[in-house]
């Protein structure tokens, strides 16, 4: 469309009208006006609590009476207390179950799907994504039953036992060795669908020609996956890893409902300890210190994932 000629006047320079004679595209103060509403909400509900939380973390405070200045001792305790240190270790184990394993499974599924036409793909995708839609508490209650002494997992294992295999049935969520992996597998079940949906969307953007070229060059399925699919999915991988790793690190509801951190301290995670210390034992300062430490860890992990998956120094469009 052609611009209508403005009568008698030349079209005015936009930057001149904005005042200040800055080059076009440079930020103007009026921009603040546009972001102000969102920024206000963000500041009130996110930044301010963050700052307050950090402030509380410097005190010994029971949440009720006046707190006393504690300096960084709450952070020292977060890092030195064996039970709290263990909880951060558990969170990292959960990252494997929530992020690494789901992404690997999703890759296999996507690799299969990208090579062949699967009938009923939409249904398949919906079913795999379904756990994402269900509230985590409902997921936890359901899995608690699945793992219970008389639940389906033990039912199958007992049936195998009757066929001559050793008896592997046990109370999974109450077992010191298996409770954490059991909780982790619930995460795998939940997050696989998310990773796969992201990858499926990404794989459709990869030009068919690349696959054809790879096949002409004689690449097998594995080679083709490494050379074409994986690089093409790098951004989706970054998103999937970030979302699932954050879900693993801040996991609270699943642990709260299924194990309450038990047996012993086998499934304690930092987010659960934040709640436990603030509401059960009245150590609000320590709870805040754990929370801040967890936030820093989440930030570091997501930044790391971003660097790793977004490409090593390559410029991307």
């Amino acid at each position: 469309m052609r611009a209508l000629p403005t009568r008698g006047r030349p079209p005015r320079d936009r930057s001149a009208r904005g005042g200040g004679g800055r080059p076009p595209g440079a930020p103007r103060n009026v921009g603040w006006l546009y972001v102000a509403p969102a920024l206000a909400v963000y500041a009130v509900f996110l930044l301010w609590p963050l700052v307050r939380g950090f402030w509380f973390s410097l005190y010994d405070w029971d949440g009720l009476s006046e707190g006393t200045w504690a300096g960084l001792s709450n952070y020292a305790k977060t890092l030195s207390d064996p039970s709290l240190r263990a909880s951060f270790g558990h969170a990292l184990v959960l990252v494997v179950f929530y992020a690494v394993i789901p992404c690997l499974i999703a890759f296999v599924l996507v690799a299969v799907v990208s090579r062949t036409r699967v009938r009923g793909l939409a249904l398949f995708r919906t079913v795999l994504f379904l756990p994402q839609v269900v509230a985590m508490v409902a997921v936890a209650v359901a899995w608690q039953w699945v793992y219970s002494a008389d639940g389906p997992v033990n039912g199958v294992l007992r049936a195998l036992h009757r066929l001559g295999l050793p008896d592997w049935s046990r109370g999974w969520l109450g077992d010191f060795s298996f409770a954490l992996p059991a909780v982790g597998l619930v995460g795998t079940w939940v997050e696989t669908g998310l990773a796969m949906t992201l990858f499926l969307a990404g794989v459709q953007k990869i030009p068919r020609e690349l696959y054809e070229a790879a096949r002409i060059d004689g690449a097998g399925p594995f080679r083709e996956f490494l050379a074409v699919t994986l690089p093409g999915l790098r951004r989706e991988l970054a998103v999937a890893l970030t979302l699932t790793a954050v879900a693993a690190l801040r996991n609270f509801d699943l642990v709260y409902v299924t194990t309450k951190g038990g047996p012993g301290e086998a499934t304690k995670v930092p987010a659960y300890e934040v709640y436990n210390r603030a509401f059960n034992t009245g150590e609000v300062g320590l709870a805040c210190a754990i929370g801040v430490t967890l936030a820093v860890l989440v930030f570091a992990v997501t930044a790391g994932v971003g660097r790793l998956a977004e490409g090593r120094g390559e410029a991307r469009p």
Binding site: W172, G174, T259, K260, N280
Partner: protein, 447 residues
Amino acid sequence: MLGPFGRVLGAAVAVALAAGCAPGSDDEPAGGKAGAVSTDVAKAGKVTLTVWDQEVQGGQREQIEKLNAGFQAKYPNVRIERVSRSFTDLQKTLRLALSGSDPPDVVQANQGYAAMGQFVKAGMLLKLDGYDRAYRWSARYPKGLLALNSVGGGGRTIGGGDLYGMSLNGEIIGLYYNRDKLARLGLRPPRTWAEFENALGTAKSRGELPIAFGNQEKLPAIQVYGVIQDRLAGKDAVRSLVFGRGGSWTDAPNVQAAQRLADWARRGYLNADANAVKWDDTPVDFAKGRGVFMIGGNWWAADLKAKMGDRAGFMVPPPVREGAPPVTMGGESLPFSITSKSRHPDVAAAYIDYLTSPDAMNVAVATGNLPALKASARPEGALPKDIAAAWEALSAADGITPYLDYATPGLADTFGGPLQALIAGKTTAPKAAAAAQRDYEEFLKKK
């Protein structure tokens, strides 16, 4: 990237620093109101009394609903606004509600350091001594029960001091047994601890589960441990340990009690996967016939009576020597307390007086609960009769020991966790006791 974002964050930090105050210090100083006490409710005019309770389970809900209706009928100028939550939910929300500027008038605050002790320390509950004198509660209740709801030294000691709450119902951790199963095994309700442990062995050898025990929550193990400890250490030692007046978790009888629990687990006297079974599922399984005995609170009795009728029996866990005075862990239900910011403390006190009156004890019996004081009405059914008899015997012999988790705010975790490990064979009795002692020492030092 630290541009505008950093500036906003920096400003927020600056504001926080400028405010410069310790958290909790902006609360107005509270404390017992020294004003004159009035027992004349009718004179108070139109009053809405907000009450937060945790009486949500069958019989207890019925009990409190009846009592509330009765109080409002007696004083038409008072309307009770009741907010009820489950025990766990109430414990979490009460902290926030009490630190607000407009807390409820009457709340059920759990005994122990974690709740009542901290609330008193923060000046959030009203000292009831004035009302105690006006209504003569001390004459109504035995000293031991009043002491459980008392806090001393401004929140530093529990189990004695100033009165901060009044309870309606009694609580006992006792020994449930399945009469049919005992008869089939040729056993009788045990009269001594040795007879009880022999019965466990007999039950095991005949393919029965000796004790129904679900311990996913960690607290059940502490209660079973406490029942054993009462026998090995004696009530005085347990009381002074819990109330921080002396003794150590690593004292020989306390370690032996843990060892006994470990032995039970090793010999298969408890559910094989006890740590995976929910506490609330324990009486359900017991009612279905899984378990000859069960160690648990009288709060399960109403459900068990409905499901098992007279097949369920209840007794105080037997003493080491036959005929020795009864002793077990227990106490009283969550006390009703008045908040120090309540605008109607006099009406609130009259309400508490009504809840704990002799008539109210009969309401407790009628609704299937165990009243804190002996009621003139008698319960119906074998199980409620067993429980009432046990409570009366314990009250007469002063045989109640406090819940162990009163000892420190974190004990349910710091000792409950190791007990789970002990039951799973992952730790030893001395190590579990040492874990409790570490937490205990740290807490006593902080106090």
